[in-house]
Amino acid sequence: MSKQATGTAFGALLRRDFLLAYRRRAELLQPLVFLMVVTTLFPLGVGPSPQLLANIAPGVIWIAALLASVLSLDSLFRSDFEDGTLEQMVLSGQSLALIALARIVAHWLVAGLPIVLLSPLLAMWMNLPDEGLPILIESLVIGTPILSLIGAIGGALTVSLKRGGQLLSLLVFPLYVPLLILATSAVGAAVVDLPYTGQLGLMVSGLIVALTLAPFATAAALKLSLS
């Protein structure tokens, strides 16, 4: 079979994903609205004291971002699995890892990037000090792709289960723990004027590891789910 050039196939898949995301924009908005609702519940629950909110702001925003990103993970491979698109992709001779990477990139652009863009608003709601805001944004820029990459492995493993959503969150949340610790401690350190480059450096290394390994792990998981 004369295989389609990898780049063309990758581009075709990305274009299709953006088109699908556009057609299902309501589905995309849900995690973002969820993120805003969860964040607004905190001042109501723990009290509106500005100092208290400022203290817990990095953690609250990051936990809300984790939850919001897990919400959109279940659909990452599900519809392609159910309508047979995935098996055709596997048979197309294209590298499954690249297909997975294309899905992950598309997922980050439509689900991760909006979280980053929303974060200044959330920071304002949570009364995060101004010194912390750039670092919060930086940590989200580095961290949300990791959420998509690790989440894709979980999504691929649970794709053949009818109700994979709950298992998916059980699978991926433990893997998100180091990321959560590093990100919130970086933002916390920046607020009190302490060095934070170490935490960000570790996050970047985590991103590189995830970027190189997660597509292959996702591909292996997809193969398992298909057989």
Binding site: R23, L91, G93
Partner: protein, 212 residues
Amino acid sequence: MPNNSYMLSVSELSFERYFDRVFEPVSFELAAGSLLLVTGSNGCGKTTMLRVLAGLLEPSEGKIHCQEQPLYAGHNPAIKDDLSVEENIMFWMNFMGTRESVRDKELCKRVIREIGLTPVTLQEGRTLSAGQRKRCSLARLLFCDEALWLLDEPYSNLDREGIVMLDGIVRNHLESGGACIMTTHGSLRPEGFELQECHLVSGRERYAGAAA
């Protein structure tokens, strides 16, 4: 040693699921230009066998000698509900590649016309009828490059006109040196072909017979 002139040769192929044979071992050879019809009752493992041949499942026993990756058109249509017929077909053209080097709207329009979906070109996948869905997923046969086709119940949901159209597509493919394996549960068969036939026996059926 299998003869190299065959496009596909299969010897003593079987597949087990949880230590249970899905179908009894089969052997056959398929030369260029020939059509193999796999028959058998519901649940006798026709789909499973095609999935094994396509490479989606690993055979438990036996050997498959296949010159190149076949095209597999199964029960799942691989059509996106949120994309129009045209967008669906364009995506697969761009993703899978086409026979001709040109991949543009013109080719896409021609494929849609030949498969008989012109009136619904811009309709979303979710609005298609079952037969139109089947046609849309079979549209790949018109631009794909593969020489060996594995068609799982290709006639299901097609109207009389669609069946004639599909027979024409398969005939063209065979005349240009391709080969095709088709499954059917018996009620519909390709008309006017010289064909090999392979009757598949479910593993369980055979066992039940032996016990009695």
